[in-house]
């Protein structure tokens, strides 16, 4: 690669203090985003994907949260060392962010026009008149009809899809180099989601902005991104180009995710779920965080936390073993049989216990 990446996150560590102890929300996370690229971050709730993106914006509520270690290199500068006022020059200007629920990030008592022109005047030094014209351009760019009139509306006068368009327009107002989209379509209906995804794809091609697309929806990732990282329990567990990841997933968790979603274009009579529950981030252990749910689990998994290793060209996975998707079905069935036996034993225990008491 000739060019240095736009964003490089190195060994990021984020902790939250809670009443029950310190939660390691993000654990030794490293990844990079190139200019003009769309990176997908996939994970379930509690995987640390949103915390990672908030850390890049330095928007972790502190206390209770804090960046406990690592670097966030944006265009060569380490954002972790930036002061709050330096960060304000970056946020909304060079990096901007859109959220799942646009209603919470828009001020309900201010007109849309005011909210849009404010950052234009602040970051781009525009006059009020210039800013208003630019806001009208932006709104029409994101497909809002009659933008000059809609500028004078309040956020609640827009529908959910339209609000998300306004958020995108505001996000792109200052031509940011990086746009972080945190579950931007999760709250929307499918047909509206399709509108927004199409819009984001079009804008990406027009403006060349790099995008970090955070989602739990593998379908959205498949259509939107160039490269994907998969997060589990605050760690990056797999990283590859989108095509490679879907064709040849190598981390048991990724395989499990792909097997547990029904496909519209496929015929499955039965899904193969991932058993069990995500781990408690409170405890510090040396085992693989996925070990308790893994169909491929071996002795070694309980005593060693695997780190990312190269499994194919430009494809890393955090698994100690070379496994692939085809092996799983066999393993899964074996494991279910074992668990059922264990369940019966547990039940007998309970019954025996009851009879005794």
């Amino acid at each position: 690669m000739a060019e240095a990446p736009l964003l490089e996150v190195k060994n990021l560590q984020v902790q939250f203090k809670t009443a029950d102890g310190v939660v390691n929300a993000v654990n030794n996370v490293s990844f990079s985003v190139n200019r003009g690229e769309t990176l997908g971050i996939v994970g379930e709730s509690g995987s640390g994907k949103s915390v990672t993106s908030l850390s890049i914006m330095r928007l972790i509520p502190s206390p209770p949260g804090k960046i406990a270690g690592g670097q966030i290199l944006f265009d060569g500068d380490n954002l972790v060392d930036f002061s709050e006022s330096e960060m304000r020059k970056i946020r909304g200007n060079r990096i901007s962010m859109i959220f799942q629920d646009p209603m919470t990030s828009l001020n309900p008592v201010l007109r849309i026009g005011r909210q849009m022109t404010e950052s234009l005047q602040l970051h781009m030094g525009m006059t009020p008149k210039q800013a208003r014209n630019r806001a009208i351009d932006l709104l029409s760019m994101v497909g809002i009809p009659a933008p000059d009139k809609r500028l004078d509306d309040f956020p609640h006068q827009f529908s959910g899809g339209m609000r998300q368009r306004v958020m995108i327009a505001m996000g792109l107002a200052c031509n940011p180099e990086l746009l972080i989209a945190d579950e931007p379509t999760t709250a929307l209906d499918v047909t509206i989601q399709a509108q927004i995804l199409e819009l984001l794809n079009r804008l990406k091609n027009e403006t060349g902005t790099a995008i970090i697309f955070i989602t739990h929806d593998l379908g959205v990732v498949a259509g939107m991104t160039d490269r994907v990282i998969v997060m589990y329990a605050g760690r990056v567990v797999e990283q590859a180009s989108t095509n490679e990841l879907f064709r040849n997933p190598r981390m048991p968790y990724t395989i499990g995710l792909l097997d547990s979603i029904p496909r519209l274009d496929g015929i499955q009579t039965r899904l193969t779920p991932i058993p069990g529950l995500p781990p408690d981030l409170l405890e510090k252990t040396n085992r693989c965080p996925f070990a308790p749910r893994c169909d491929f689990v071996q002795e070694q998994c309980w005593i060693e936390t695997p780190s990312l290793r190269q499994v194919a060209p430009d494809h890393t996975a955090a698994c100690l073993f070379d496994i692939d998707r085809d092996q799983r079905q066999v393993m899964a069935e074996k494991k279910i049989a074992e668990e059922e036996a264990a369940l019966d034993a547990a039940l007998e225990d309970v019954l025996a216990h009851e009879q005794a008491s």
Binding site: P275, E339, L343
Partner: protein, 332 residues
């Protein structure tokens, strides 16, 4: 065939699930309350005050209502607090027998203060129970029944809510204080009733709001879908979930009732002083403030001691109420 996918105990990570103790929302709240130092200090202080109130006859060095026989001849002569020396009139100099001095009738101020705790405790808790009972009943009916009955009850509640309460108390006191009913328990019963009669309105509004939002909750729909009778839905599903805010409201009613009694007694229309030695509620802090005010130049201790007593019990209840709110509703 159901898969056993979620069964714990098959690996070390889930084994600990079995050993964890059961935690209800109440025990969680208690844990949070225990971590709140101010609230815990308040609880201890209020517990001590409750002991003082119950064991007042044992603790008080003298009778609160009249001078003890040996001091009879000193009737009409007040004494200063123990550490004050009155050079002009040695009879008035403080002695440690009466640590906070005596009042103009020869009564021991400290003993009165100790007995006054009883009135404050009773005047705080009993109206709270009345107020909550009326408020909860009306709020539950109003919120659960809905429709015309709800509108009717809520308009009535609005009227009560808009009454100027001090004016209402004054009218009630002047109208009934000389009747037999008004004299029951030194007039305390009248204070309980008039306080509760105007203060339930805010409780019933609170409860109704809770019921309305709980009625829409899916677990209530689920109970209905399962065929649970309406009465059970109300008492098993809705009422227990309104208790947390009710408890918080209750904790704030207590200081407000205490202050109301003190205010009325200060205005001379609260509880009536009684010299009968067998009366369990011979005096109140409000009354002492009233007396203390007229003797502010000669005996400031009466006023200061009773004002501190009222302020500290009020602050303790408010702190406890805040603590309860934080503990019961951790989202705020």
């Amino acid at each position: 065939m159901a898969t056993a996918s979620n069964v714990a105990g098959t690996n070390p990570a889930q084994a600990q699930e079995f050993t964890r103790p059961v935690r209800s929302l109440w025990s969680d709240a208690w844990m949070r309350l225990r971590r709140n130092r101010l609230a815990m200090a308040s609880i201890i202080y209020l517990f001590l005050l409750a002991l003082v109130a119950i064991f007042a006859p044992v603790i008080a060095p003298h009778s609160p209502s009249r001078p003890t026989t040996t001091e009879l001849r000193e009737r009409g002569v007040y004494r200063q607090a123990a550490w004050v020396v009155d050079e002009k009139n040695p009879k008035r100099s403080g002695i440690w027998k009466f640590p906070l001095g005596t009042d103009s009738a020869g009564g021991d101020v400290l003993s009165r203060l100790i007995y006054g705790t009883r009135v404050s405790m009773v005047v705080g808790f009993i109206p709270m129970i009345f107020t909550l009972s009326i408020g909860i009943t009306i709020g539950l009916i109003s919120g659960f029944a809905g429709g015309k009955l709800d509108s009717l009850l809520m308009r009535f509640t609005d009227i009560i809510f808009s009454l100027p309460d001090i004016l209402f108390f004054i009218i009630v006191q002047t109208a009934f204080s000389q009747t037999a009913f008004g004299k029951t328990f030194n007039g305390l019963l009248l204070i309980f009733l008039s306080f509760s009669a105007v203060n339930w309105a805010s409780v019933s509004r609170l409860v109704r709001g809770q019921v309305l939002s709980l009625k829409e909750k899916e677990f209530v729909e689920a109970a209905e879908a399962v065929g649970v009778r309406r009465g059970s839905i109300l008492f098993r599903h809705i009422l227990p979930n309104t208790l947390a805010p009710i408890i918080v409201a209750g904790a704030f009613i207590v200081p407000s009732a205490i202050v109301t009694e003190a205010t009325l007694s200060f205005l001379g229309i609260g509880i009536q002083p009684d010299t009968n030695p067998n009366n369990p509620f011979p005096t109140s802090w409000g009354q002492m403030i009233l007396e203390g005010k007229s003797a502010i130049d000669s005996q400031p201790w009466i006023l200061i001691a009773s004002a501190i007593a009222i302020a500290s019990i009020t602050i303790a209840f408010v702190a406890l109420g805040d603590g309860l709110r934080d503990a019961l509703d951790p989202r705020q």
